[in-house]
């Protein structure tokens, strides 16, 4: 089932800036979708339009098949949003702000469910504290707790771990995985490529308001990723220059590097090894390095 469906979405500002250009994107129910992009790429604008905070210029957004403007009460009731900036009512107590959020989304009061959320996010001991007394990381958890207080089916997280320490980041990742197991669809934007690599099922890359690619995470790495084979040979050999030229190897002392891209080139690594053996080159070590998401991301947005 499709949870979020975006068709031909455009957003232009009065000053002529085109923030989103013909966005087409679908997110399946129960998946974790990560949208990567540099600052100003259009990530937050996209989330804000889906959630009803910003106006679109043209195009269509549907949530579980319903239009997010015509059926806004239905669509918004399914959505929980954690914005990029920490924005809370500083003088309000944690538990009261959660009750407020739940009420705002027209949900029957439930101390039991809110206790579960507080427990899940390690906020139980802080429930009667004023929000202003909490640390930045704790405030971030409160923001997430608020977004979950009305039991949403889709959770939007706009750079949820920005400025958060490693421990909290990992706690959050585990929590998101638990939510996913409970059937919650997660749409997150992030600057941390590691985050997308760790928890996302599918990844989209956005730059200058355009979606460059959306792909299953593993497939994306396979499709666009380069592989590097580093062969350490025992000593220099006369016939190496012929092999180096044939396979366009990079030579650094006794290390030979063979780089290929499965999408663009044919994998000649087997043939290379065979040629080396035939030439009586003694091989001490073979290493294989795969490029990671960060390299793919940088390659795409720097084009």
């Amino acid at each position: 089932m499709i949870a979020i469906d975006i068709k031909n979405l455009n957003k232009s500002y009065e000053n002529g800036l085109k923030a989103l250009k013909n966005i087409n994107l679908s997110v399946r129910s129960g998946e974790i979708f990560a949208l990567l992009g540099p600052n100003g790429a259009g990530k937050s604008t996209l989330i804000n339009i889906i959630c009803g905070i910003s106006k679109k210029t043209s195009g269509k957004v549907t949530i579980f098949g319903k239009d997010n403007i015509l059926d806004y009460k239905f669509t918004r009731s399914k959505i929980g949003l954690v914005p990029q900036e920490i924005a809370t009512d500083s003088f309000e107590k944690v538990i009261n702000t959660l009750k407020f959020s739940r009420g705002l989304f027209n949900k029957v009061p439930s101390d039991e469910y809110l206790s579960f959320i507080l427990k899940s996010l390690n906020l139980v001991t802080k429930k009667n504290n004023q929000i202003r007394t909490l640390s930045g990381g704790m405030k971030r958890r409160v923001m997430i707790a608020k977004a979950l207080s009305h039991e949403p089916k889709i959770l939007f997280l706009d750079e949820p771990t920005a400025g958060v320490d490693v421990n909290l980041r990992k706690t959050l990742w585990n929590f998101l995985n638990k939510l996913k197991k409970n059937g919650v669809t997660i749409f997150l934007t992030t600057h941390y490529i590691e985050e997308a690599e760790n928890i996302a099922d599918r990844i989209g890359i956005i730059n200058n308001g355009e979606i460059l690619i959306t792909e299953n995470k593993k497939k994306l790495i396979e499709k666009l990723g380069e592989k590097k084979i580093i062969i350490t040979i025992n000593s220099s050999h006369n016939k190496i220059s012929y092999i180096t030229k044939k396979y366009q190897l990079k030579k650094n002392k006794n290390k030979l590097s063979y780089i290929y891209n499965s999408k663009k080139n044919i994998d000649l690594s087997a043939s290379l090894l065979s040629d080396l053996v035939k030439s009586s080159v003694k091989i001490d070590d073979i290493e294989i390095e795969k490029s990671n998401l960060e390299e793919i991301f940088l390659n795409m947005v720097e084009k």
Binding site: G52, S54, K73, D89, F100, F105
Partner: protein, 253 residues
């Protein structure tokens, strides 16, 4: 209808008031008490009766109205402006709550605070001054109607404002002068002919006059005209608010 959403906003705003009792209730009550002392006891004893009513008693409806108008505008404008300023407006805008429901939550809370403050001033003054309320039903109706109308007006100011200075701009430079010149402290009939005629252009004259009528049965203007003018202003504010939400003016980019 998202009644829980309306109540959530209402409850949040009322909690804010009770968290800041000194600012929300004590401060306007103290200011009004000072008016009573200065204009009522000190200067009022030299003035005598107006339209057959002791000057200090004459002051009560005007002072309540002065407080009500200021409190309604400031409560409602601050109520909606602060979420815009702090960024928490995102939650209201992304919730399944209609523009009318949002407005109801904020305006009803602001109006409730104003009515509460107005009643406290009335009860407090009754301890020191002889007060007659000839038309209690109409008095209460005026109190509620004007609180709601000016809360709605304040709500519009709060949406329009993009800094704290602008929130104070209209109350300080338009509303307060009009209220002072609208007969809070005197009867329009006491003014020279030219200024009397000019005063009838001031809409606040109609509000104060009709409110004073509910107390003492005397009015500078026709009460029906006053009620019609208040309703007209109420409808005008409602139309403007619905336009704001329809277009996303100063709320949505």
């Amino acid at each position: 209808m998202n009644l829980r959403g309306i109540f959530a906003i209402y409850h949040f705003e009322m909690s804010r008031m009770f968290r800041t009792v000194s600012q929300s209730i004590a401060s306007p009550v103290l200011s009004t008490a000072l008016y009573f002392i200065v204009f009522g006891s000190a200067i009022g004893s030299k003035i005598g009766n107006i339209d057959g009513v002791n000057y200090t008693s004459f002051l009560v409806p005007g002072l309540i109205m002065l407080t009500i108008l200021n409190q309604s505008v400031s409560n409602a404008s601050f109520g909606i402006y602060f979420p815009k300023f702090s960024g928490t407006i995102y939650e209201i805008l992304s919730a399944p709550i209609s523009p009318i429901e949002i407005t109801c939550g904020y305006v009803l809370a602001a109006a409730s605070k104003s009515v509460l403050v107005g009643l406290i001033i009335l009860i407090t003054s009754a301890f020191f001054i002889e007060i007659t309320i000839l038309h209690p039903f109409w008095m209460l109706l005026f109190l509620i109607l004007m609180s709601i109308t000016f809360s709605l007006f304040g709500f519009i100011i709060g949406i329009w404002a993009n800094d704290f200075q602008k929130i104070q701009l209209i109350p300080s430079f338009i509303l307060t002068p009009l209220t002072f010149l609208g007969g809070s402290f005197y009867s329009i009939s006491m003014l020279p002919d030219f200024w009397q005629k000019l005063s009838y252009v001031n809409p606040i004259v109609y509000l104060i006059s009709s409110f004073r009528w509910s107390f003492y049965g005397n009015s500078d203007v026709n009460v029906v005209v006053s009620i019609s003018a208040t309703f007209f202003f109420l409808v005008l504010c409602m139309v403007f608010v619905s336009w704001i939400f329809k277009t996303g003016y100063k709320i949505k980019t």
